[in-house]
């Protein structure tokens, strides 16, 4: 028995471009989240006292708090970015519990894409806040000798971000799969609950780390003043 942990199932292909199962679940999940976001946004405007509106406000307050406390300052762009990451990873952890659905974060390419978005967001935020020169100067501080180390840390933390999420989610689904194969009834339930809890925690941690990395790129300039 060799489970295919690192590959993916191709559902269909458009020309030479294979569309894997991860892509399909990612798109469906994104569409669901977008529709839910529209609905809650409309509920906030139309029925501010309703349950949906309260959910939306609580969620946004939670995300804003997270950004405020980890990045130091709250900005709508950063809140949307980290909030999107959190909601997507949490939603994929929840969706992974559905029968027949595999969470997209179980596959390495999906988590690598999420980590790459953080990797790209850091210089974009830094340049938007402090200008190209101001951002690039940070790499030569406190000493130009540290420039290679800065580069290595940039790459290695992105790698760690991708591998951490992938490892946690994949090990969870692997353990649940093993338990189902061995016992089948009732025994896997605590493991499934653990998998769900770990998935939500990892979503939180991913969002926090994204905030920390982006916040560090934004904030460095404020310390020297």
């Amino acid at each position: 028995m060799r489970p295919d942990l690192f590959g993916d199932v191709t559902v269909f292909s458009i020309g030479p471009l294979p569309i894997t199962r991860t892509v399909v679940t990612t798109l469906v999940l994104s569409a669901t989240l977008a529709v839910l976001g529209r609905l809650t946004a409309r509920a906030v405007v139309r029925r501010p006292a309703g349950r949906l509106a309260a959910t939306a406000r609580l969620t946004f307050g939670f995300l804003e708090d997270l950004v405020q406390q980890t990045a130091g300052s709250s900005s709508l762009v950063l809140t949307s970015f980290a909030g999107t990451l959190f909601l997507f990873i949490a939603a994929s952890a929840i969706a992974g519990q559905l029968p027949g659905v595999e969470a997209p974060t179980v596959k390495l390419p999906a988590t690598a894409a999420l980590a790459a978005s953080v990797f790209l967001a850091v210089p974009i935020a830094g340049i938007a806040k402090r200008g190209v020169w101001g951002y690039l100067r940070e790499y030569f501080r406190p000493n130009p000798l540290l420039f290679p180390l800065h580069l290595v840390s940039e790459v290695s933390r992105t790698l760690a971000l991708a591998l951490r999420l992938f490892g946690n989610m994949m090990s969870g689904s692997l353990v649940v799969g093993l338990a189902v194969a061995l016992v089948g009834l009732l025994v896997p339930i605590p493991l499934m609950a653990l998998d769900l809890g770990i998935g939500l925690l990892q979503a939180y941690i991913f969002a926090v780390l994204a905030c920390v990395y982006v916040g560090a790129a934004i904030r460095v300039g404020e310390e020297e003043r």
């Binding site: 060799r2 406390q69 490892g167 946690n168 090990s171 925690l201 990892q202 780390l209």
Partner: protein, 85 residues
């Protein structure tokens, strides 16, 4: 034993060792984080939210080392580039 058999044997033994030794370090470090978190909570119960948040982030960072070991062990077992089946 053929070369492939030796490779498989080595991969399986190494995967077990990787996971076991990797888990030791992470477990020791996480126990220290848990103890320190309890200590801080007992001293300052008002700061419970912040302490718990930072504790979870630290736990996840430490745990990622064990997770890297797990990924390497699984690569050795299921996606070993040197074993041809």
């Amino acid at each position: 034993m053929t070369d492939q058999a030796v490779l498989m044997l080595a991969s399986i033994v190494t995967a077990g060792l990787t996971m076991g030794l990797g888990a030791v370090g992470a477990a020791l470090a996480e126990s220290r984080i848990g103890a320190a978190g309890m200590d801080a909570l007992a001293r300052q119960p008002d700061e419970a939210a912040g302490i718990t948040r930072n504790q979870f982030v630290a736990l996840a960072m430490i745990e990622s080392t064990a997770i890297f070991c797990l990924v390497i062990a699984l690569v050795l077992l299921f996606a070993n580039p040197f074993i041809t089946t």
